[in-house]
């Protein structure tokens, strides 16, 4: 049991940090531009595929730097030539633009790299067990992922607190309309922020790619969860996104570890009741519903605390 708890905590934190790498960019973009970027997870996927391709050409370590930058450039292009032109049609149009983009990116990726998973491997330098807990190996690469996530997290904090762009971003988080009214002056900041947000997603892709499966549907697998994270944490709140990421990471991993169902707690239902949705609910285990727990949480949060955990704004 102790083993399960230790491993699940590690895994949960790791998954949570990965979620945070993605949701931080999404949150900042949303706060500043009011755009919920549907294509954010697609940038994550692009990062993984760029990382894969560059790893084959120039090795993992250069790829770790270059691939996120490339994704950032793609993101800036999307902002400059797409979103900026759509802005006049309102936020819904912007959101729909990114929606269409997510569609297109998925197809482009599967067109170029195929629909099967690509062979994106953990670099040899990190392909060893870092330590062993209760006879379970914990791979060094996962520790590496954890370290990168934490470093980025700290870097993000410092940037936000210490730089001019950071100050503008912070202003945007608390007074979005004010920054919005600054209008043209922040055009470049928007582009930069969008680029950085995309690059962060790209970085998450580069480091998650070898650990998870790099495949053209990986964006669709993670995308909806991201929205849960940022709504759950409170739209526009970075600390909220952080807590929500960790919480959802932990909930998902721990739920899997549990076997409990209503039947195991209260005993099986009378068989004479026959098959009905009640028996389905009664017999389903927590592990079975682990991946839908985030959505359940989302709905509950929106009912009882519509602004999310740490949010201050309602929309």
């Amino acid at each position: 049991m102790a083993e399960l708890i230790v491993i699940s905590t590690l895994n949960g934190v790791l998954f949570g940090m990965l979620l945070f790498l993605l949701s931080s960019g999404l949150t900042v973009i949303f706060s500043m531009m009011g755009v919920l970027n549907f294509a954010h997870a697609s940038f994550y996927m692009l990062g993984a595929f760029f990382g894969y391709q560059l790893t084959r050409w120039i090795g993992f370590w250069p790829a770790l730097v270059i691939a996120p930058l490339l994704v950032g450039v793609v993101g800036m292009g999307v902002e400059r030539y797409g979103l900026r032109n759509t802005h006049k049609h309102g936020h819904v149009a912007e959101l729909l633009l990114t929606f269409g983009l997510a569609f297109a990116i998925e197809e482009i990726v599967s067109m170029i790299w195929g629909k099967s998973p690509v062979d994106y491997r953990v670099p040899a330098a990190l392909d060893f067990p870092a330590f062993t807990v209760f006879s379970t190996n914990y791979p060094a690469y996962k520790i590496f992922m954890l370290v990168v996530s934490v470093v980025i997290f700290i870097a993000l904090l410092v940037t936000l607190k210490r730089t001019r762009v950071g100050l503008i971003v912070q202003a945007a988080l608390t007074h979005p309309s004010m920054v919005g009214h600054l209008g043209h002056n922040v055009g470049r900041v928007f582009m930069l922020v969008f680029g950085v947000g995309s690059a962060l997603a790209g970085l998450a892709g580069v480091i998650a790619g070898p650990s998870l499966v790099t495949q053209s549907d990986m964006a669709a697998l993670l995308g909806p969860i991201l929205f849960v994270v940022i709504v759950f944490g409170g739209l526009g709140s970075l600390p909220g996104a952080f807590i929500a990421s960790l919480l959802i990471g932990l909930i998902q991993t721990f739920a899997v570890a549990l076997n409990g169902s209503l039947a195991s707690v209260f005993g099986p239902l009378d068989p004479s009741l026959g098959a009905s949705p009640l028996t389905d609910i009664w017999n389903v285990t927590i592990a079975q519903i682990a991946p839908i727990l985030p959505y359940l949480l989302l709905v509950l949060v929106l009912i009882f605390r519509p602004m999310g955990l740490l949010g201050t704004r309602e929309s």
């Binding site: 083993e3 379970t136 991993t253 570890a257 079975q288």
Partner: protein, 412 residues
């Protein structure tokens, strides 16, 4: 409204062209060609196109050329029905499909209804990979023929093999949470209980299908349970991710799988370094030792760039030809009658037959393991350029795979 007519007219040009189907035998290939399942669907399409070319090179079927008509169903049952209807509307009398039991069940239902409502426009459904047992049991249809062993048959074969492996003591079951995964799990419990009551089932997991990004928590559970063997019906990313997580955590168990050989599977196994620890139940493997099959494999790989993942498709197409010749007709009603009870030597050698009672094809089942190939001359084929390949471990004879059916066949 004028627009509607224009659009409809345009639609017709796409959907039409029903005539002139008499010359060639068109087989509607209904499987995913876009979206998540496309890689699997495309492999199947290449296989069938290769097989059609093979038939045509030898003069086709009764002088008719065979053409495969690809119909993209996006692995969606509803879309499959649209595509099936499209096929019917285009005068196609044979459809074949494999991916997704939900699609299979929908198509089976479709052909049954279609054939009873539209006499003279009968359609046969050749199933090459949908393995839900119910399709040849309670839901069975006269118009459906299955060449793949259903999941219960495979489990029967597998447990017959496991029966003779005393090293297996603790088994963990992990499966995708849908009908196929559930039948794997319940049959494994049932059959192991009958054949090896001493084996302990230490875990029984159902996880949501294609939704899990990180399997390490599941692996932690398997590890904690002390299992020495894992039985799983997982396929696609759910298989690859499961294995990856296992390798990361250093889990050393034997894996008995249904679909380890599926697209991406061999790559994942190679990455994890589980040499000959992953087993697969299938009706054929590239390194089967059968000369004809291995020649076929060689040519197939050269032409398509993929390995023969569907020996059953070969059986299906060749048997279709034999049945048509036996009936001396390409009329689906007559072909169906000819197929019933038909005996046939299967691709990798050995006898198979299409059971009349439920239209399930029975054939020898091979248990194989994946890893380094010791004798490159005898076992020349690797998978996905990994250098590793399938090695036959055991062959279960046809009669050892027989299971009763509850099918109450309604014949026209």
């Amino acid at each position: 409204m004028r627009k509607l007519i224009v659009a409809a007219a345009a639609a017709l040009t796409v959907l039409g062209g029903a005539a002139s189907a008499q010359e060639t035998i068109k087989i509607g290939y209904i499987d995913p060609l876009s979206g998540g399942g496309a890689s699997v669907g495309e492999g199947g399409l290449k296989t069938f196109q290769y097989l059609a070319d093979e038939l045509n090179a030898k003069g086709g079927i009764l002088g008719h050329k065979v053409e495969i008509v690809p119909l993209d169903n996006k692995t969606n049952p509803q879309e499959s029905l649209v595509q099936a209807q499209k096929a019917v509307d285009a005068g196609i009398h044979y459809i074949t499909q494999g991916n997704g039991s939900s699609v299979g069940a929908a198509l089976e239902d479709f052909v049954t209804k279609n054939n009873s409502r539209n006499p003279g426009k009968e359609v046969l459904y050749f199933n090459y990979a949908a393995v839900d047992p119910s399709m040849t049991n309670e839901k069975c249809s006269y118009w459906h023929f299955r060449w793949d062993a259903n999941s219960d048959i495979k489990m029967a074969a597998l447990t017959n093999y496991m029966k003779g492996q005393p090293s297996i003591k603790k088994v963990y079951l992990i499966n995708m949470d849908y009908s196929f995964g559930q039948s794997v799990r319940s049959e494994a419990r049932k059959m192991l209980g009958e054949k090896r009551p001493d084996i302990q089932i230490v875990g029984d997991e159902l996880h949501p299908m294609l939704k899990v990004a990180d399997f390490s928590p599941y692996i932690a559970k398997i590890k904690a349970s002390g299992a020495d063997t894992v039985v799983t019906g997982n396929w696609g990313q759910d298989f690859a991710l499961l294995l990856k997580a296992a390798a990361d955590a250093g889990l050393k168990v034997n894996w008995y799988t249904y679909y380890a050989g599926g697209s991406g599977g061999p790559t994942a196994i190679k990455q994890t370094g589980l040499d000959h620890q992953v087993f697969q139940i299938s009706e054929g493997i590239p390194n089967s030792g059968n000369k004809a099959a291995m020649d076929f494999e060689k040519d197939f790989r050269a032409k398509t760039g993929i390995s023969v993942w569907y020996p059953r498709a070969v059986n299906e197409m060749r048997m279709f030809k034999a049945a048509a010749e036996k009936a001396n007709s390409i009329d689906p009603v007559k072909v169906a009658a000819a197929l019933e009870g038909m005996k046939f030597e299967v691709f990798d050698g050995g006898d198979g037959f299409m059971r009349k009672d439920d239209h399930q094809f029975f054939q020898p089942i091979i248990i194989s393991s994946f890893g380094t190939l010791a004798d490159k001359a005898k076992e020349p084929f690797d998978e996905e350029n990994t250098g590793w390949g399938w090695h036959p471990v055991s062959k279960i004879d046809t009669d050892q795979t027989m299971l009763p059916t509850t099918c109450n066949m309604k014949r026209p």
